[in-house]
């Protein structure tokens, strides 16, 4: 813990969430998607564009920056913005930084958004796009090792070899999350699947099958961050930001490669929990970055829900199902709802804490954890703990 942390706990809140529909081809620009999601989130909060004085996003050259979204929506007088370069590892850091800006008085109403045509324009896990900008790439790309499904599969196998994690464990996670998506009208994939379906799905990069991998999606999602005090006066039940943490940690870059079965989340988690004054046992619902099945398994360990190496059996026990002790990815997650690069996890946590998650509502949910990509592609991650006011 930093020694001089601002008295931050519960000082800010998420007052609104907004979505565009999720699809395989939005037919519109990322700028249009971003604007629609921002307006939807403001409408949800009972605010108008004139109330906005901050905008924040994260992107890897594939979305609309605040400097375009602001003018496109006629937002003048913005006092704060953030255009964070980064993928899923910074998705929650963006909201944390917006909350800090609000807590510090730099802005009062910040909309954090992510817009992406990840299916029709920019295939994160596919071929045909430029290589990531990193000196690491030159030692990997010549061998055909270029895409996130390959990188995560490599780490997943290391976990399987070390701890005996199995395909059935990963399959249990995919099946459980699909069952949640069946209850989510927004989800792209709503056909129930079985473990047999999982095992029969085609190989992508062994040990990963198709159903280990998230759905690349066209869509946008936004959340409104404001002071807790102001949020209480708005249309929706406020959801307090009890903790927001981000930063570096365990590295898996080839020059400083520690244990490949531990992620940066293991170092972040104690800092996050201390900030909230809560622990894993207090978490009622968890929306955990599931770019792949394995990323949930390893984070269940690194966020302290089960001992190291037992993430697979924990999932297979049913613990993460809607009626289990720790419902995880209640919307179906990136594996079944859609992939908006972290922000739809935050929005789902808000829906759960507002008691508005419909058929998939976790009864009495008061505390939610939501997490970012845990730091396998870069040694950084981020996470939020949210609380019903």
């Amino acid at each position: 813990m930093p020694k001089r942390l601002l008295d931050f706990r519960d000082a800010t809140a998420i007052a609104g969430v907004g979505y565009t529909p999720f699809s395989k081809n939005s037919g519109v620009s990322t700028l249009t998607l971003a604007c629609r999601a921002v307006l939807a989130a403001l409408d949800d909060a009972g605010l108008s564009a004139a109330d906005v004085d901050g905008l924040a996003t994260h992107r890897v050259g594939d979305s609309a920056p605040p400097t375009l979204v602001g003018p496109a929506l006629g937002l003048t007088g913005l006092s704060w913005h953030l255009d964070q370069f980064g993928g899923g590892s910074v998705s929650h850091a963006v909201v944390g930084q917006a909350a800090l800006a609000v807590a510090a008085g730099m802005a009062e109403t910040v909309v954090c958004y992510r817009a992406i045509n990840a299916r029709s324009e920019f295939r994160m896990g596919g071929t045909g796009r430029g290589l990531p900008v990193s000196p690491e790439v030159q030692y990997q790309a010549p061998y055909g090792y270029v895409a996130p499904p390959q990188q995560y599969a490599m780490y997943a196998r290391a976990h399987m070899l070390r701890y005996g994690t199995t395909a059935e464990h990963f399959g249990a996670l995919a099946v459980t999350q699909r069952a949640n998506a069946v209850k989510n009208p927004r989800a792209l994939m709503r056909t129930p699947i079985t473990l047999e379906d999982y095992l029969a799905s085609r190989w992508i990069a062994e040990p990963f099958r198709l159903l280990d991998c998230c759905l690349e999606t066209d869509g946008a999602c936004a959340v409104v961050v404001t002071t807790a005090e102001r949020a209480r006066a708005l249309r929706r039940p406020p959801v307090l930001i009890s903790a927001a943490a981000w930063g570096g940690g365990q590295s898996h870059l080839s020059g400083a490669a520690g244990d490949p079965t531990v992620t940066a989340a293991a170092e972040l988690a104690p800092r996050l929990y201390a900030q909230a004054g809560l622990g894993p046992a207090d978490v009622d619902v968890a929306e955990i970055y599931d770019c792949f099945t394995y990323s949930v398994v390893v984070q269940l360990e690194d966020y302290g829900f089960c001992p190291k190496g037992e993430g697979g059996p924990y999932v297979a026990s049913g613990a993460t199902a809607l009626d289990g002790p720790l419902p995880v990815n209640t919307h179906g997650g990136f594996l079944s709802e859609g992939y908006v690069h972290g922000v739809n996890h935050i929005a789902e946590a808000v829906s759960q804490l507002r008691g508005e998650a419909g058929d998939r509502q976790v009864p009495g949910a008061e505390v939610a954890l939501s997490t970012a990509q845990p730091g396998y592609v870069l040694p950084a991650t981020s996470a939020l703990i949210l609380r019903r006011a």
Binding site: P135, Y139, Q140, P142, Y143, Y145, W203, E206, S254, G255
Partner: protein, 130 residues
């Protein structure tokens, strides 16, 4: 080549030149003696900028591997195997390469690097050390 042509940077150009001569080199920090891979100007242990190349045997142990089953790189035949090798000479150094074992790798098995010429580029694959 299974993938893209390597694009050396100013820190790594000599490493690739040495690989072209079939010399597997790591860097040894002149300040604290820690060996490092891949090539960088700074020592992450002591932040020193003085170092020298050190030729080592391309040896290590298999830490993990994948079998690529769909063409993540256009025009490449699948399946192919990529191994992650922890280098004997650099405990914190991971090297990647294509597998030339003729069978699946085994966890923790000792492997050695073998040079492969791809046009005017030399790459390092891995095979069982025997």
């Amino acid at each position: 080549m299974a993938g893209h042509r390597p694009e050396p940077d100013r820190d790594s150009r000599e490493w690739w030149e040495r690989i072209a001569r079939h010399e597997f080199a790591v860097q040894r920090c002149a300040g604290c003696g820690v060996d490092r891979f891949p090539a960088r100007a700074f020592c992450p242990a002591c932040r020193g900028e003085e170092w020298r190349w050190r030729a080592v045997e391309p040896e290590g142990r298999v830490e993990s591997w994948i079998v690529a089953r769909q063409p993540f790189v256009p025009g490449v035949a699948v399946p192919y195997v990529v191994v992650m090798v922890r280098l004997s000479a650099v405990p914190d150094g991971l090297a990647y390469g294509n597998w030339r074992g003729g069978r699946e790798p085994r966890a923790g098995e000792r492997v050695r690097g073998v040079y492969r010429e791809e046009g005017d580029v030399t790459l390092v694959d891995w095979e069982p050390a025997g």
